[in-house]
């Protein structure tokens, strides 16, 4: 959604939109009051829809401290796929032959209604359970990992974690194409654009692994 008052330039454009809309409404109302009302409703609805569907400007790339550490730091973003074998395999390859520290972050995914009403206890609890299971599974594989629940918005969860963890590498785990909401929203591409870090994308097919 585009905010019509996001900046001075946007507000100036909005003045133009309102002037044109007002002129059209007055013209229609002069012909017929009900026609004027109909034009007003259509214009207000149309303008609102246009601003609603207009994409927001892309946020600027994020600069966070990272670099060469004695211990290689890997940030893992995953949710339902957090216990997938493909992810574990990738992480083992990531840290092979060097001391490493892993932070597993599971965004507290929630429904839109629950998100807007701040009803996120259930989502956080579910994410926490997945994190516990994942950290335990990684521990059994000999990988030092800790976990935490992140923001419902995965890009925000990555940014939050990077600021406190100082990762050297990010691993994003998703479902396969067609079943992944994150891929549908271009999460991996957007993360690569925003964060100046090596980003590995792992596809975990839980159905195939379970078969």
């Amino acid at each position: 959604m585009q905010n019509p008052l996001r900046s001075e330039a946007a507000a100036f454009r909005f003045v133009g939109v309102v002037v044109v809309a007002a002129a059209l409404i007055v013209g229609a109302a002069r012909a017929n009051t009900w026609f004027g009302l109909a034009v007003a409703l259509v214009l207000v609805g149309g303008v609102a829809l246009w601003y609603w569907h207009e994409p927001s400007p892309a946020p600027p790339p994020v600069e966070v401290p990272h670099g060469e550490h004695a211990v290689h730091r890997v940030l893992v973003i995953a949710n339902e796929t957090v216990g997938g074998r493909a992810l574990s395999q990738t992480l083992i390859e990531c840290v092979r032959g060097r001391p490493a520290e892993l932070l597993v972050v599971a965004p507290a995914l929630n429904s839109q209604l629950r998100y807007w009403t701040s009803d996120e206890d259930g989502a956080r609890a579910a994410a926490q359970e997945r994190v516990h299971a994942s950290v335990a599974a990684l521990g059994e594989l000999g990988l030092a990992a800790r976990g935490e629940v992140g923001d419902a918005e995965p890009l925000q969860a990555i940014e939050d974690a990077m600021r406190t963890f100082g990762a050297d590498e990010v691993v994003i785990s998703t479902h396969p194409v067609g079943r992944s909401n994150w891929l549908e929203h271009g999460l991996v591409e957007e993360a690569r654009r925003r964060f100046d870090l090596p980003i590995t994308h792992v596809i975990v097919d839980l159905e195939a692994e379970g078969a």
């Binding site: 996001r6 900046s7 507000a11 309102v18 927001s56 946020p59 940014e159």
Partner: protein, 198 residues
């Protein structure tokens, strides 16, 4: 980089905001959202009076100075252009363009307000004369109060511009004041269209 990280671990992380909108602009946006609600309550009263009365608007024998208000509207819309020009100028490093733009915007806003005050004195009716005059003065007066606030902001912006406070890199003060001024302009177009024309 390692030094940066070490320092990072010794201290709390740098504060940052996640909304992707600069806090001052977000503040102005929230302020304007509350203003929209305020104007909305006045418009609700206005439409209630018109619909419930079900008679000609303005109710006889009152007349509204539609032509003078049109001139005033043109002045206010033009001031949005000069405001925009001022900001574009400072973004390009043109300090005198900024100063001229802000000064012109201020003068046009002042002209608008003085013209409105002059019209008030010639209308021939007072707020106590009935529902129509009450809602007319309430709506236009509320907008006039916002123009006054906008003029005060513009005055400070203009003084700061002449003191050299703004640069191509630092002009948030102009940006934020500009958003408010355009909002005042938009509200007037709505007031003029609904109260004077329709």
């Amino acid at each position: 980089m390692a030094a940066i990280h070490a320092e990072h671990l010794e201290h709390p992380p740098e504060p940052y905001y996640s909304s992707r909108v600069a806090p001052p602009i977000l503040g102005m946006f929230l302020f304007i959202a509350s203003e929209v609600m305020l104007f909305g309550s006045f418009f609700t009263a206005y439409f209630f009076v018109r619909v419930v009365n079900g008679v000609q608007w303005p109710t006889p024998p009152f007349h509204l100075p539609v032509f003078v208000a049109l001139i005033n509207t043109c002045i206010l819309v033009t001031s949005s252009f000069t405001m925009h020009w001022a900001l574009q100028s400072i973004k390009r490093g043109n300090v005198w363009g900024l100063r001229a733009g802000l000064l012109l915007t201020f003068l046009m806003g002042l002209t608008f307000l003085l013209t409105q005050a002059r019209e008030y004195s010639r209308l021939g009716f007072a707020p106590k004369d009935g529902a129509f005059p009450t809602i007319f003065y309430s709506l236009t007066g509320l907008h006039g109060a916002h123009v006054f606030v906008g003029l005060s902001i513009l005055l400070f912006m203009t003084i700061r511009a002449f003191r050299g406070h703004f640069s191509p890199e630092h002009h948030h003060g102009v940006e934020i004041g500009g958003i408010y001024w355009h909002f005042v302009d938009v509200m007037w177009i709505v007031v003029y269209t609904t109260v004077y024309i329709l």
